[in-house]
Subunit: 195 residues, 2 copies
DNA sequence: AGAGTTTGGAACCGATTGGTACAAAACACA
DNA sequence: TGTGTTTTGTACCAATCGGTTCCAAACTCT
């Protein structure tokens, strides 16, 4: 019926996501965005209404792909005990923060600091992601031989959640190896059902 | 000798700090800055070289005043036990996050996410602040009847540090009362020397 | 009062911001 | 081979970005 588009929307959104991820909303200019997505202005505004719209789409993409995978791993009973799954996540975060290459951190965490307080529509999406992550931790904590106290699960999940974001923030400060290890060790203490 | 300046540099820097604090670097335009500081362009560029220079000054100001006071409180043996001082800090943070008025969070945390990865000069200052905060927690944790294991102090201080930043990030998501309480309760568990 | 020095404010700067208008190009269908 | 429809690239837009220049105003000192 008509001329087909020459770019793949999915790869374009991925590129946009990574730009927002490590530059934030304001600092990612339209020019940078177009260069990263390898499309021109016409195509951009035809496919995605404006800058904020594509920002929301990259948040949805992150929610679906990254948060989704993380939560799935936390809930996957094939990957060791619940405690193992939580610690594996933290080890991975600590490792990626240690390697001085990747300083981009967690898009959810960055976006919370960057825009949650200034845009209700964005805040809504971010809150939903935080909630999904919290539930992932809950599920992992519930997965024990002797079913733990629900209140312990709720409170501990939230402690683990805040440790997760804290580690992400510390990663931005340039984490030393011992710092990362210590943070993971504290999570290990938190999720120990004996204490 | 010459015409005296009509504005107070200290109150101007305070105003600039609060603007950077809840808008970040890029989103705080020069026009907003001038309006908040209640000075005009001429005075601004005469007194502070450029935008980045005053950003660095606001960081120093925050370090000196806010971080300084926080660390002093953590080390002040007149304000209860070390554990009490740590919990008082977390209670205050949780309370300010609960009241839906204040969404600005912690300037250090915001700046870490906003600029640490993109500017070495800024990163350096932020790392120093993180280190001061860590030492504050260490001092508070050391202040116990039976002097605790230094390794326990170091590792726990870092766990508390990451919980602090985590709570700040969660505050941006709009904290429920139980969420805040749970996070503080987890810190209480972490700093318990028995576990 | 006059000289010397610094501030304050406005005019101005080129570059960049996010966004629009529009015509040419590229396809599917008849 | 047209015809209709969509994409693409370019030219263009006003507004804003951070920053400079310059001079009158405001002060201290002699």
């Amino acid at each position: 019926m008509a001329r087909p588009r020459e770019f793949d929307p999915d790869t374009a959104i991925t590129a946009a996501m990574h730009l927002f991820w490590d530059h934030g909303y304001e600092d990612a200019s339209l020019a940078c965005l177009l260069e990263a997505m390898k499309i021109t202005k016409g195509s951009f505004y035809k496919a995605f209404a404006d800058k904020k719209s594509i920002y929301l789409k990259t948040l949805d993409y992150y929610d679906d792909k990254v948060i989704g995978r993380t939560v799935r791993n936390l809930m996957d009973t094939d990957q060791g005990s619940g405690a193992d799954r939580i610690l594996a996540l933290f080890e991975a975060v600590a490792a990626s923060a240690r390697t001085d290459g990747d300083r981009s951190g967690c898009f959810l965490c960055n976006a919370l600091i960057d825009r949650a307080a200034h845009d209700a529509e964005i805040e809504e999406r971010l809150q939903a992601m935080v909630f999904r992550l919290e539930n992932g931790f809950r599920a992992a904590l519930e997965d024990r031989p002797h079913r733990p106290d629900p209140e312990w699960v709720r409170a501990t999940a939230r402690g683990v959640l805040s440790s997760y974001f804290g580690l992400r923030v510390l990663g931005k400060a340039g984490l030393s190896k011992t710092m990362a290890d210590d943070c993971v060790a504290q999570v290990r203490r938190l999720i120990d059902p004996k204490i």
